[in-house]
């Protein structure tokens, strides 16, 4: 059994038929070939599959594709292309806040959402906010550094 599904993904209108049991992450990866959304635990713990659903971060593995009907989904690909993450991406790259890179898209989405809601978190708040994103390599210190430097740069930019 499939159901019709209409939604917006990275600004594009999408119309597909999906089985109701298909997760949003599998739908994005398998059907739309948006493979920057990664699967790590498939139980909403590790954060590798985070995407924005109507602007809010959700675990793509815990949301069914059909639950996103009528919504706006943004993935790492869309956020990267729009430039919304440009300064965070630059800081992650410069600070070596990534190693194997598997957790990185989810990390960036959490970091982006954190800075949307809390413009100037301290290092402790950054650590807490990122604790739903596992990095096994593990580059936690550098990830905090990258976000902290982005906050500084945004503050400088705003003041300039």
């Amino acid at each position: 059994m499939t159901l019709p599904l209409h939604l917006t993904v990275n600004g594009q209108s999408v119309a597909e038929h999906v089985e109701p049991r298909t997760s949003l992450a599998d739908f994005l990866r398998d059907r739309l070939r948006l493979t920057g959304t990664h699967l790590g635990c498939e139980m909403g713990v590790c954060g590798a599959c985070l995407v924005l659903l109507d602007g809010k971060p959700v675990h793509g593995c815990l949301v069914l594709a059909v639950q996103a009907a009528g919504s706006e989904v943004q993935t790492i690909e869309g956020l990267a292309e729009s430039g919304a993450l440009a300064d965070l991406q630059r800081a992650f790259h410069e600070r070596n806040a990534l190693q194997c890179g598997y957790c990185t898209p989810g990390m960036l989405i959490t970091a982006h959402s954190l800075l949307e809601t809390t413009p100037a978190p301290d290092r402790g708040e950054i650590r807490t906010a990122l604790s739903g994103n596992f990095c096994r390599c593990t580059g936690y210190e550098s990830i905090v550094d990258a976000i902290a430097v982005t906050i500084e740069r945004r503050a400088e930019g705003a003041g300039a």
């Binding site: 089985e19 049991r21 298909t22 599998d26 990866r29 398998d30 070939r33 948006l34 493979t35 920057g36 959304t37 990664h38 699967l39 790590g40 635990c41 498939e42 139980m43 713990v45 590790c46 590798a48 993935t75 790492i76 690909e77 990267a80 993450l85 991406q89 992650f92 790259h93 410069e94 070596n96 990534l98 190693q99 194997c100 890179g101 598997y102 957790c103 990185t104 898209p105 960036l108 950054i126 650590r127 807490t128 990122l130 604790s131 739903g132 994103n133 596992f134 990095c135 096994r136 390599c137 593990t138 580059g139 936690y140 210190e141 550098s142 990830i143 905090v144």
Partner: protein, 750 residues
């Protein structure tokens, strides 16, 4: 650091190498464009899902194949009754790096989580549901999965064929003269790699040619192994593994699911993708086995170690042999007149263990450093002073001098940054608010193996180059660090060097493991570049039209894409030399391996200092600071090396306080085989942490002076945290991970 000059003298390491360049794969990874194996989706793909055993020992007596096959979308189902045969039994160990695999060869169940059927369907969801519908029935036998009830067996070897026992010096005599001794008993538990990227394979046959996308740490070896089990030539197989989402040892060795996916693709004529679920990675893809270790340190009046004994009991599967070589961690770190180490094995109904980041060294170091702390206490010495007093000038296990050992500088720099001099000797003397605060330390050490690697370098007509080797980048930064070395070998700026890697049609770079990949593959790449330059020098110095004519073979240096005369400084660009010679390319080859039998003991060293805070009411333990200093030979890329060292230290936190796979001893099944139940450090668990690197020139370890940084961070750290917990609380846990309850329930008051 002095430049390393290769044997021909034309090229030097130290222009690109040594720079903290950002990762060459960084942009791909921050945009989501880096592709991992499971991202591949060839046309006509079938999704495979394995059904796994829910008993740990016995046989499968019934599978509801009809129900599974009736599920819409199911295409094919394999059980031991119909699985296509392999050319070689998956129970054959065709070389030392093959583990006995489960590829549906029988109805026997040897551990919980073993694959017992494979379902192929048009969608992942259909395959998953059909696997569930198989509803297996079993004839279950009583499993044994713990150190207490598994079956002892005699062994002469530990992991990688190393001897199980070692003895040097006269331990009886040494003990007779000792003033006192301490005994430490330490247990460590089963741990699982849990790389973020699940194990995955996409297999596609085109005629008799096989393409495989799978994350693998030793692509060349994997190709040979697949070929042997399939009964085809390695040249018929292409393995692509450009990016691994972490490996840590678990992706160095093939597992049965990979063979099944390939068989299924051949049988159905369609591409097949198999991605293991997180719970399915607890069993078939290796783990770190539990250990029960006992150390006895005999000390003389001055606090010198007279005798060191380290015994390990550990566990392997019922059907294969991999014993965590924990006692070997005591061989080469501290001076002792007499050394005796042993390993004893147990067979249990578990998947076969395997190498996991610092195999042997991690649990061995944990126990050794706890024993050293006890001994320091017994000797009335500060833990650092005690380690300095027992500093090994030569390797006590074989008397060899060290190739280099800047451990004293590591102690000094890390202790200084940490503020160790202010540490009160007695425990329970420091508080931060209500919390008990403690400081502990440990020494870090990891061997410097080299494997074998080959590489090609090709200079192109425009003076740029392409270098090729099938290295594996599982996050450590091979794409970047190896390219830096290759560029120096060619005398080019790195921007002029294209680095091709990550697939099996390239020269074999050996294994990304044992902290030896940069040294091994790097040597091959450097030599390949130097080979190109040697040919260029021959062309130029023999050509009357070249400004280098007559410079003599040893009078030329390559840098920045030009050959320079050493006498008058005149130079010529690579592209001009090629053009005049009428060549559109110039190709060189290189290999990397350790030459001859080692005559020196070769290790990276380090010192780790830890601060913990312990809640006296709840027993909750937090690592609040970690400082490490490491001497690991030439650092090719400080930015990447620091990140590897920090990562290893965070693994030390997980080992010391969190990671533990739990079995239900009655059923042999796991109770926490997922990322919620198996605790790994998250960002909030990672403290203020720093890793320094200490300068070290090592002319013996290899021509480039490269050691390794991938694993050493785990060693030292675990013991340092355990010792800090003692210093905070006065309680010594005899087990890692140290859980709050082990402090609260110890009978002592916090």
């Amino acid at each position: 650091m002095a430049d390393v000059i290769n044997t021909q003298g034309h090229v030097r390491l130290g222009s690109n190498a040594g720079q903290g360049l950002t990762r060459r794969d960084g942009v791909l990874k921050v945009t989501g464009a880096a592709t991992y194996a499971a991202d591949n989706r060839p046309e006509g793909l079938l999704h495979a899902v394995t059904a796994t055993a829910t008993i740990a020992r016995g046989r499968v007596t019934h599978l509801d194949v009809a129900a599974a096959e009736a599920h819409p979308g199911v295409v094919k189902l394999y059980t031991p009754d119909n699985v296509p045969p392999l050319a070689v039994s998956p129970d054959e160990k065709i070389h030392p790096f093959v583990w006995r695999m489960e590829a549906l060869q029988s109805d026997r169940v040897r551990y919980a989580g073993q694959p017992i059927a494979l379902v192929l369907a048009e969608t992942l969801e259909a395959a998953t549901e059909a696997a569930r519908l198989l509803a297996p029935r079993y004839e279950a036998e009583t499993p044994h999965v713990t150190l207490d009830d598994a079956e002892p067996f005699e062994t002469t070897t530990t992991a990688f064929g190393r001897p199980a026992d070692h003895s040097s010096g006269d331990i009886g005599k040494a003990r007779a003269t000792a003033a006192r001794h301490v005994v430490a008993e330490v247990e460590t538990v089963a741990q699982y790699h849990n790389a973020m990227e699940p194990h995955a394979i996409v297999a596609r046959w085109t005629g008799d040619r096989l393409e495989i996308d799978t994350p693998n740490q030793a692509i060349g070896l994997a190709r040979q192994t697949f070929a042997a089990f399939l009964g085809i030539e390695p040249a018929q197989i292409l393995i692509r593994s450009p990016f691994l989402g972490g490996g840590f040892g678990s992706k160095a060795i093939l597992y049965g699911g990979q063979l099944l996916a390939v068989l299924a693709a051949r049988d159905t004529g369609r591409p097949v993708k198999l991605v293991l679920r997180r719970d399915q990675m607890y069993g078939p893809v290796g783990h770190r086995a539990p250990t029960r270790q006992r150390l006895r340190l005999d000390l003389d009046e001055d606090g010198r170690i007279a005798a060191l004994q380290h015994d390990t009991l550990t566990m392997t599967s019922s059907f294969d042999h991999f014993l965590e070589g924990a006692s070997n961690a005591s061989h080469s770190l501290y001076a002792t007149a007499a050394l005796q180490t042993t390993h004893r094995g147990l067979r249990a109904d578990i998947g076969t263990p395997g190498p996991m980041r610092a195999p042997g060294e991690a649990p061995g170091s944990a126990a050794l450093e706890v024993a050293m702390d006890l001994a320091a206490q017994a000797a009335g010495l500060d833990p650092l002073a005690f380690r300095l007093r027992n500093h090994a000038e030569t390797d006590p296990s074989n008397g060899m001098a060290f190739s280099s050992k800047a451990l004293r500088e590591c102690y000094a720099q890390a202790a200084d940054l940490f503020g160790w001099a202010d540490r009160p000797a007695e425990p329970r003397r420091m508080r931060q608010g209500q919390l008990l605060k403690g400081w502990g330390m440990g020494s870090a050490q990891f061997p410097c193996p080299m494997f074998t690697a080959a590489a090609h370098a090709t200079l192109r007509a425009d003076g740029s180059a392409v270098v090729e080797t099938s290295a594996a980048d599982m996050g450590q930064g091979a794409w970047t660090a190896l390219a830096q070395i290759a560029a120096d070998g060619l005398g080019l700026d790195i921007d002029r060097v294209e680095f091709r890697s990550g697939h099996s049609d390239l020269p074999d770079a050996g294994v990304a493991g044992g902290s030896g990949h940069t040294a091994t593959a790097g040597t091959a790449l450097f030599n390949a570049g130097a080979d190109v330059v040697r040919r260029l020098v021959d062309l130029a110095t023999g050509d009357p039209a070249s400004p280098l004519f007559g410079a003599g073979n040893s009078g030329v240096t390559a840098r920045g894409g030009r050959l320079h005369r050493n006498d008058d400084g005149r130079s010529e660009a690579y592209e001009d030399i090629l053009a005049r010679a009428g060549l559109d390319m110039l190709r060189g080859e290189g290999t990397g391996a350790r030459e001859g039998q080692p005559t020196r003991a070769m290790f990276s060293h380090g010192a780790v200092f830890a601060e913990v805070l312990v809640d006296p009411d709840l027993g909750q333990i937090r690592v609040s600071r970690l400082v490490g200093a490491f001497a690991a030979g030439r650092i090719i890329n400080p930015r990447l090396a620091r990140s590897q060292l920090l990562g290893g230290m965070v693994w030390g936190i997980g080992f010391a306080l969190q990671e533990e796979a739990l079995h239900d001893a009655r059923t042999g099944r796991f109770t926490n085989n997922d990322l919620a139940g198996y605790h790994i450090p998250v960002n909030a668990d990672a403290p203020m942490i720093e890793a320094l690197t200490v300068h070290e020139d090592d002319p013996f370890v290899n021509a480039l002076g490269i050691k390794g940084v991938g694993e050493i961070g785990v060693t030292g750290t675990v013991g340092a945290i355990g010792n800090a917990v003692w210093h905070a609380t006065g309680l010594r846990s005899q087990r890692f991970p140290i859980h709050p309850e082990s402090l609260i329930l110890s009978g002592e008051s916090l």
